[in-house]
Each structure stands twice: as structure tokens, then as C-alpha cells.
Subunit: 395 residues, 2 copies
Amino acid sequence: MADVGCPGFRFAGARGGIKHKAGLDVALIACDRPATAAAVFTSNRVKAAPVRLSQRTLRAAGGAGIRGVVVNSGNANACTGPRGAADARRMQAEAAAAIGCAPGEVLVASTGVIGTPLPMDRVDAGIALAGAALARGGFGRFAEAILTTDRGPKTARRTVRLGGRKVTLLGCTKGAGMIAPNMATTLTFVTTDAAIGPAALAAATRAAVGPTFNAIAVDGDTSTNDMLTVLAGGAGRKLAGKDLAGFTAALQDLLGDLARQLITDGEGVHHVVEVYVRGAASARAGQAVARRIATSPLVKTAIAGGDPNWGRILCAVGNAGVAIRPERIAVWLDEQPLCSAGARAADHDEAAAAAVMQRPSYTMTVELGQGRAEARYLACDLSHEYVTINADYRT
Amino acid sequence: MADVGCPGFRFAGARGGIKHKAGLDVALIACDRPATAAAVFTSNRVKAAPVRLSQRTLRAAGGAGIRGVVVNSGNANACTGPRGAADARRMQAEAAAAIGCAPGEVLVASTGVIGTPLPMDRVDAGIALAGAALARGGFGRFAEAILTTDRGPKTARRTVRLGGRKVTLLGCTKGAGMIAPNMATTLTFVTTDAAIGPAALAAATRAAVGPTFNAIAVDGDTSTNDMLTVLAGGAGRKLAGKDLAGFTAALQDLLGDLARQLITDGEGVHHVVEVYVRGAASARAGQAVARRIATSPLVKTAIAGGDPNWGRILCAVGNAGVAIRPERIAVWLDEQPLCSAGARAADHDEAAAAAVMQRPSYTMTVELGQGRAEARYLACDLSHEYVTINADYRT
């Protein structure tokens, strides 16, 4: 992936020395021409300074005219007060100088330790190095420089024919399954050479994020720094109609790939479980049930222990805040029935169900018997490593 | 506590053989005269058969005329379909026969494994033995017979002078910190010789449960079987005015004691943390923030690791779904300041804060700076034992 690029963009990763451990920690994207941009930011009410700055920048720019993105890892610049806000603006200005554009044309993201001011001399040095290294083939180093406790870079690429020409989508994400201490942040960046207007790109991004990055759960916490950005730098006639639908589908496919990599690479994760809720009265109800199952500590420890303990699944369903009919619920693990009509399935085979749970990935299907809506969520196990990583991190 | 009773009540605990391991598993309360009763049931939409039966019984009785309670441990009679409903009714009838009253005058509770039908021959045998053993001094065995994975019985007693006479409140609870697999249930029973009307007892119970049993969190899950019952068996003039207020205060004190025992005795719990949120815009907002902190896996693993990682606390505050002002937030651990004005406190002393977290219990104070409302929640650590207990339970 390292030398694979996206037409119209240059990338770089450099080391400024922000991270205590070795590795790249400053990343830069430069757009050849002003790009359309859409982004989804953390819903946490405590937002890091770069999140607030990028929100303001994108709003002021009307989702267009973006020339670049600057990212640092190793320090989240969150809960850092007025100084943090000033530091984020300084990062933006330094990156604009390196790219050769105005500060208001640059988005900013940070990830790492919360509550410690950015070491700005190191950030400045990193931005200068990254600016000098910007290259078509720099995506591999970009994807590496945004990492914190991740096992490795997570990237994906799609090409699709839209409106008679080939369009590329190139993306990367970071986040150790959203479980790492102080570094729980998910950052995702996608570039594409498609030509799309701001409203269409915003709608496509919202549509593609719902069933992908908004449907994964490790521990249910949302970080102060989460941010997902799509930059569309193509020229010419804007995508519309079925071409726009095709782009949205390709974007969803790409984000689904990245989201699954995020869960799979999560530290302490041994099993990835697709929670599939069907027969829901509404999509919203189905999502609430799927999310509750995917975030229940009792379900997640059962996944870790390989225990086909379907009572915990029903307990989570009942806690979802949704009007359900317990006597209609059925549950399967892959092909193995656990529960039928709200009670133990007649053909329940405990040993066979336990064997399914040894698989690295499997599906937990919950039929609610109320309607035709369905929802999917990716979940994982709550393991000893999770506790070790999060309890022993700074000690 | 074993030979301490409550005037007007007889108690018993017996072994019917429902539990695989040794120990008492059927418990009985008999009221000398028809008692006023109030109860709080699980909010889980998947309610066990005994919960649904007790709800119907209490409603039909208008909160009065209750003559007894029957409880079994070792099997929750939850997710057991129509057979489970019939079994709960049979338990009720057997207990009524043992006590010498009508079935509609008996409340039923169960706790233990979900999804397996009750072994009714053993339940019947246990009820018969318990009926024969009913005694003034049987409370100790009652408190023992309702346990599942608990370390030991959790009981509390209060006496208070109301309306010129001494009133006794005697209670017990079970639940291994609501964390044990398939047995996550909290059951609580209180008897008192106070004379109170149904509406007053219901109001007193609601008021006393809010800041006690509704303000503790181990993992945020609510079981299919949770139930808290207060039986008032006194004769004569009903409590009113300041006597009723005095009773409510005594009940809250008793329940607070039991709730703290529940958290402290939780398996895998090494630290009990009182989350104290103040300066909230409303009591509801304060409670939402306190609950979110107390149930955040990242905060709970930080408690386990003794890491004064205040960024995780602010992250949880921001995830509470409440409009907050991050720049006004301050955080302390006991007397140690961590965060002020949403950033690291100037007088933050990392080593001293880490030392506070070695204490078996301490207070985490969060000032929101928005108003005058406050809320308290009892939290605990998420430890390796939690994962071991819940992942390895049936394997």
C-alpha cells in the first residue's frame, strides 16, 4: 500500500518527537486543488481543541476549498484549556505554510495523551519535515504516523467506474479498537479523486458512516478526539444520480473494511462477532438492541470465555430501552440455535454452540419477531488483555 | 445477626437441592398478620416469571394483605416460557400452604441460572422444610438461603422511635455486585413492625431506593430478576407526617448500608469509589453524569490500576448526554485536585493522587460549575477477577 496513492493528493509522515517511543508522529495531506470536504466528529461534549477548530474551519469554508490536513499522534491536545486552542491554531498555520495555502483551508486532528499541552517545538519540527516530504507515494507513511497503540497501519483502497471514468477512494484509520487508555481516539481519513459537491459529499459520508463506523463497539466509550474526514479533490462535472449512489456504496464498502480492521486489530481482541438483529419493529429499535448486546460487559465476557450463555443475550435485549416481546425472541450463533420463543431452543446443542464460539469470527443472530427492520453491529470480547492494557497503562 | 428478628415476622432458610453446590436455597418469610407491602422490580423488559407473578400479586392485593414471601436461589426461572409461569404459581401455592394463607397473599422471587426450568420436586421439598422451620430467629438462615455467588450474607438492622414507640427495620440483600454470570440478580427484603398504609409505604420505598440501590453500579447491567420488597406488619395508627419522614430516613439509611455492602462484597472488587457530582444544572443531569462515570469501562479500569487518569473522567462526563461546559469542570480524588477549569490543575500532584487510589474507598468529586444540584453514585473497579469470574464461569 505504501506506494499506492490517490490522484490529486500528496501525503507525508514524519517524526517530530512527540511520542516518547520511536515512530512517526506528524502526518500531512496536501490537495493539488481545493477539495470538497465532509467530516463526522465525536459526539462527546468534551471536544479536543483540534476537533473544535476543524469543525469551525469546515463550517466557515462551507465544505469546500480545503487544501490539506495535519495530524499529530502521541498527544490529543484535549483538556488543555486556552493554550490548547492556541496550539491547534498554530498547527493549522504551520501546516498551511508547509502546504502553501491559507490556515482556514487546513483541517487539524490530534490523538494521544489527554490533559498534557502539546510540545509545540516538536510539532513544528514534525510539520516542517512532513512538508518537505510530501509525495504521491507518501500514503504509507501518513497511515503510520497517525497510529498510537495500534498493532499496525489499517488502510483500504477501492476503485470504481463512475460517469465513464475510474474513481479511486483511498483511506486509513487508527484506534486500537477504541480501547487504549488516553488514546481511545478513532481517526479516519479518506481521499478520492471524484468530483462531488459539498452537500452530496456530506450526505454520502453520513450514509456510509451509519452502518460502518457507527456500528462498531469495543467498550462503548466515545473519545474527545474522534474524527472521520473525506476529501474529494476531483475536477469536472459533479457526481449525481446513480453515479453518486455508486460513490456512496463504494465509500460504505471502504469504511466497512476499515471499521472491521479496527475491531480485528483491537488489543486484547480474540473474537469479532457480528451482532445481527432482525425482526425489529423499526431500524432505530433494532440498532438500540444491537448496540446494547454489543456493549454489554456480560455478553462480552461470555464471548471471551466461549460460553454460549444466551440468558445474558436476552438480558441485554431487555435492557435496550426498547419495547420487546420476550416470548418471540430467538437466538442463534452462526447456524446453532440457542433460544426459541424466549426459552431454550428444543434443538439446542451446548457443545456445538461452544464450538462456534471458538471461531475467530461468527454471527450472533437475534430475531425479535416484531417487524421487518434489521440492524448489524460489530462486537468483540472483553478479555484479560483489555483490563491489563487499560488498568496498567501508565503504571 | 442470626438470632435477631423483627417483631411480627418469622423466617426460614432450607436446602431443597436446587443449587449444585452445597448450601441453603429456599427462603421463606411469614407475617403474623397481613402486611402492607411495597416493591421495586427490574426495569429489564425481559422479566423472569416470578417477577411478573409478584407484580400481578402486589397489584391485585393493592399493596396490602401480604402474608409471606418465598425465594429460591440456584435457578432464576427466567426465559423459561409458559412452564416457568406455571412453576412460579406452583411455588406461590406451596408457600401459601406452608404459611397457612391464600396464594394471592404470597410474593415470589428467584435468582440463579437463566433458561433452565426449575427442578420443582426440589423446590417443593425446600418449601416444605422451610415451612416447618419458620421461627422468630430464622433471619440468619433466610439471609443465607437467598445467596448465589455472594461471599456471605449481607444484613442490616435499624431501630428508631416513631410516634412514641420503638420501630425495627430488618433487611438483607444478595447479589455479587451484580456481576456474576447468570446470577446478576439483586434481591433485597426488608421487614418492619411499623404501621404504614400502602401509598405511604410505596412512596417511602421509592424515595429510599433512589439514592441507594438505584445509585450503585458494577457493570451497568440490570438483571431479569431484580426485586426489592418492604413488608410493614405493624398494627395501630398508621405513620404520618414527621413520623413517616422519620421512617423514610431510617429505610434509606438501612438500604444505603445494604447497597454499600453489595458493592464492597462484589467479586473482583478492590476499591469502592463514591462518585460525587456537584454543581449540576439539575438533579437529573447530575445523576446522568455520575452514572456515566460509574459505568465507564475506562474509568473502572483506571480505578483498578490506581491510575489518576483524569482525562478518562472528563471523557465519561462528555459522554453522559448532558449539556456541560468542559471549561468549568474540576475533579478531585478525596482531597487531591486533578483538574481545574477543564485542564490539569495547577497544584496537581500525580504521586499523591495515585496514593489516594490505593485506598480501599475514596471519593471522586466532579464539579460541573453549572448550578446547585448534586448526585452520588457508588462505583467500583473493573478488575481481572471480573473477567475471570464472568468469562470462565461455566467452562
